[in-house]
C-alpha cells in the first residue's frame, strides 16, 4: 500500500471516529467539571477546574455499590444462562432432524419480532401473580428463556449450520452419541459464536431500562440504568454532574474489559466464527 493511500486511510479513520469518541469524552470530562462549566459554549474539551465531589455524591444519594452489584450479577447470570439455552437450541435446530422442526423454529423466532413494550403488561401481570414483582427473577428468567435469548439462538443456529457435515460422522465413529457430539465436538468449536452471544447478551441485560423500572420498586434492588435516572434534585431537576459521574462509572469498566478482551473476542470470531 502506498504511503499516500495509507495516510488518506488514517485521515478518513480519524475524521470518522470523531462522532464516536466525542460524546463519551464529553461525558467523562464533564463528570469532573463544576456544574456551570458543563453548559459552557463552546464545550470545553478539558475541565478548567476539577471537581470530584460528584463522584462521592453518587454513593451518598443511592446505594450505588449495591445497584452496581445487582446489574453485574444479573447480567452475568443472564449471559451464562442464555449461552447454555441458545447453544442447545441453536445446535438442535441447525443439525438435528426431528418432526416439527421448522414449525418449532418459527414458533421460537416469533420472540425475535416482539419489542418489549408489546408484552410488558401481560408479563408484569404474570410475575406479579407469583409475588415476583420487586425481585430480580423477571429480569433473569425472561431474558434467558424468553424473547431476548431468541437472537442468541438464531446466531448459534447460523453458526452451527456452517460446520462441515462430516462433523457428526467423525463423532459417531469415535463412539459419541448425539448429545456427546454436541457437547464434546460442536460446542468447543462454537466458542467464537458464543463470544458474540455473550457480548450481545451482557450488553442487553446491562442496558435494560423499561423492565427494571416496571418490575422493581426498592432502591436497593435497582439496576444501574434505572439508578441513573434517580440522580435528580429534590424537585425532579437532573443533577447533571452527578448523573454524568454515575454514567461514567457504569461505562468505563465495561470499556476497559472490552479493550482487554477484544483480541480474543474479535480474532476468535475471525477464525471459525460467523465467517462467510
Amino acid at each position: 500500500m502506498s504511503r499516500r493511500v495509507k495516510l488518506s486511510l488514517y485521515g478518513l479513520l480519524c475524521v470518522l471516529c470523531v462522532p464516536f469518541v466525542f460524546p463519551t469524552w464529553w461525558m467523562v470530562t464533564s463528570s469532573v467539571k463544576p456544574i456551570n462549566e458543563i453548559f459552557a459554549f463552546p464545550p470545553t474539551l478539558v475541565p478548567d477546574r476539577w471537581d470530584l465531589t460528584s463522584y462521592s455524591r453518587v454513593f451518598e444519594l443511592q446505594p450505588f455499590a449495591q445497584q452496581y452489584w445487582n446489574s453485574l450479577y444479573i447480567a452475568a447470570v443472564v449471559t451464562v444462562g442464555t449461552m447454555a439455552v441458545a447453544a442447545m437450541a441453536g445446535y438442535a435446530f441447525a443439525r438435528i432432524r426431528f418432526p416439527g422442526q421448522n414449525v418449532l423454529f418459527v414458533v421460537v423466532l416469533v420472540g425475535l419480532l416482539i419489542p418489549s413494550e408489546v408484552t410488558i403488561v401481560p408479563l408484569f401481570q404474570m410475575f406479579h401473580d407469583f409475588g415476583m414483582s420487586d425481585t430480580h427473577w423477571p429480569l433473569i428468567l425472561v431474558p434467558i428463556f424468553g424473547a431476548p435469548s431468541v437472537l442468541a439462538t438464531f446466531i448459534m443456529r447460523q453458526f452451527f449450520i456452517t460446520l462441515p457435515g462430516e462433523l457428526e460422522e467423525a463423532a459417531r465413529v469415535d463412539g459419541l452419541g448425539r448429545f456427546g457430539t454436541f457437547y464434546r465436538v460442536a460446542l468447543p468449536l462454537a466458542r467464537p459464536a458464543l463470544g458474540a452471544v455473550a457480548i450481545f447478551t451482557f450488553l442487553h441485560s446491562w442496558n435494560l431500562y423499561l423492565e427494571p423500572i416496571v418490575y422493581l420498586s426498592t432502591p436497593a434492588n435497582f439496576t444501574l440504568p434505572q439508578a441513573l435516572t434517580q440522580f435528580v434534585d429534590a424537585y425532579g431537576g437532573p443533577m447533571w454532574n452527578v448523573q454524568l459521574a454515575a454514567a461514567t462509572m457504569t461505562a468505563l469498566p465495561i470499556l476497559v474489559v472490552f479493550v482487554l478482551a477484544q483480541r480474543q473476542f474479535i480474532e476468535g470470531l475471525a477464525h471459525t466464527g460467523l465467517k462467510g
Partner: protein, 313 residues
C-alpha cells in the same frame, strides 16, 4: 454429561423392551426435543402467551384507572383504520427504518473494510468505533441532546469549517436524520464487529487470484466479498431491521416524537397510546400491527435468503 447417561439409560431400557423402536433418527429426535425444550418453554410462556393476551386485550376497551375491561370486538381495529395520525406515523416509521438500516449497514461495512486493511493501529480504531455500544443509552442520548442544540457542539464543529448548521432537533427532516444518526453511531459497532469477523474469514488467496485475472477492487468486492459474507449480511440486516422498528427511548429523550409528528414512529406511538394516554386496548391493537409488520419484513428477508445467501442454498 448426566443428560447423556440418562438418555442412554432411557434409550437402552426402552430398547430392551421394544426392540428396534429407538432407531438413530428417533434418538436424535429425542435429543433434539430435549435441547430445544428450555427455549421452547420460554417462548411459549414469555412470548406466545403474553402475545395471545395482547391479542385478547386488543378486543377490549380497558380503562385501567376506572378498572373497567369491556369486550368491544373489532372496535379498536376500526379505530386503527380511521386514525387520522396513522398516515403520518407510518410515513415516519418507514423513513426512519429505511434511513437507519441503510446507514447502519453501509457504515458498518465501510468501517469493517477500513479496519480490515493491513494498517498499524486498527485495534485502536476498532475500540473507538465500538465504544459507544458500551455507554448506557440514557447517558448517550443526554449527551447528544446537548450536542445537537442550535448552538451546540455539532454546529460549533460545522462553524469551524464555515458551514452554518441548522437547528437539528427542530426541523422535520433534520430531527429524523438526527435520531437516525445518533442511533447508528451508538450501535453500528456491533454490526461492524460482525462484518469484520466475516471479512477476516475470507481467504486472501481468492482476492489475489481475482487480481491476477484483472478484476478491479469494486468487482472483487461484489464478486468475492459480498457473496462470502452474505450469511453475516443476512444476520445483521434482520437484526437491524427488527431493531429499527423498536427504537423508542432515544426518541422519547431527543424529540418526543416531534417536531409535529415527524419522529413519531410506530413503536413510540404505541408506547404513547398504551402507557401515556392509557388506551391499553388500542395500544394492544397497535402492538398487533407492529408485530405483523416486523413478522412480514423478517419473513421476506428469510425467504429471499436462498436467492443470495451463500451457505443457505
Amino acid at each position: 454429561m448426566a443428560a447423556t447417561q440418562l438418555r442412554d439409560r432411557v434409550a437402552g431400557h426402552t430398547a430392551a423392551r421394544r426392540g428396534p423402536f429407538w432407531t438413530i433418527p428417533r434418538r436424535d429426535a429425542l435429543v433434539g426435543y430435549l435441547l430445544i425444550s428450555p427455549q421452547l418453554a420460554g417462548s411459549v410462556l414469555f412470548v406466545l402467551l403474553p402475545l395471545a393476551l395482547v391479542g385478547w386485550y386488543s378486543l377490549q376497551e380497558w380503562n385501567v384507572l376506572a378498572g373497567t375491561f369491556d369486550f368491544v370486538g373489532g372496535a379498536n381495529y376500526a379505530k386503527l383504520l380511521a386514525d387520522p395520525k396513522m398516515g403520518e406515523v407510518l410515513t415516519s416509521t418507514t423513513l426512519f427504518s429505511i434511513g437507519l438500516v441503510v446507514l447502519n449497514l453501509a457504515l458498518a461495512l465501510l468501517l469493517a473494510i477500513l479496519l480490515n486493511q493491513k494498517l498499524a493501529g486498527t485495534t485502536f480504531f476498532r475500540t473507538l468505533f465500538f465504544s459507544p455500544v458500551l455507554v448506557s443509552l440514557v447517558a448517550w442520548t443526554i449527551v447528544w441532546q446537548f450536542l445537537l442544540q442550535g448552538d451546540g457542539g455539532i454546529n460549533g464543529l460545522l462553524g469551524a469549517v464555515g458551514v452554518d448548521g441548522p437547528n437539528w432537533l427542530r426541523g422535520d427532516a433534520t430531527a429524523l436524520l438526527s435520531v437516525v444518526v445518533v442511533q447508528v453511531i451508538k450501535n453500528v459497532g456491533l454490526n461492524m464487529v460482525l462484518f469484520l469477523a466475516a471479512l477476516q474469514g475470507v481467504p486472501r488467496q481468492l482476492y489475489e487470484a481475482a487480481e491476477l485475472d484483472g478484476a478491479n477492487a469494486w468487482v472483487r468486492f461484489l464478486r468475492i466479498t459480498v457473496p462470502l459474507i452474505s450469511p453475516t449480511i443476512l444476520l445483521t440486516s434482520i437484526i437491524t431491521v427488527v431493531g429499527s422498528l423498536q427504537v423508542f427511548a432515544q426518541i422519547a429523550v431527543l424529540t418526543q416524537g416531534g417536531p409535529g409528528m415527524s419522529t413519531t414512529v410506530l413503536v413510540y406511538y404505541l408506547y404513547q397510546q398504551a402507557f401515556q394516554f392509557r388506551h391499553f386496548g388500542y395500544g394492544a391493537t397497535l402492538s398487533v400491527l407492529l408485530f405483523l409488520i416486523v413478522a412480514a419484513l423478517t419473513l421476506v428477508q428469510w425467504r429471499m435468503r436462498r436467492k443470495w445467501v451463500f451457505h443457505e442454498s
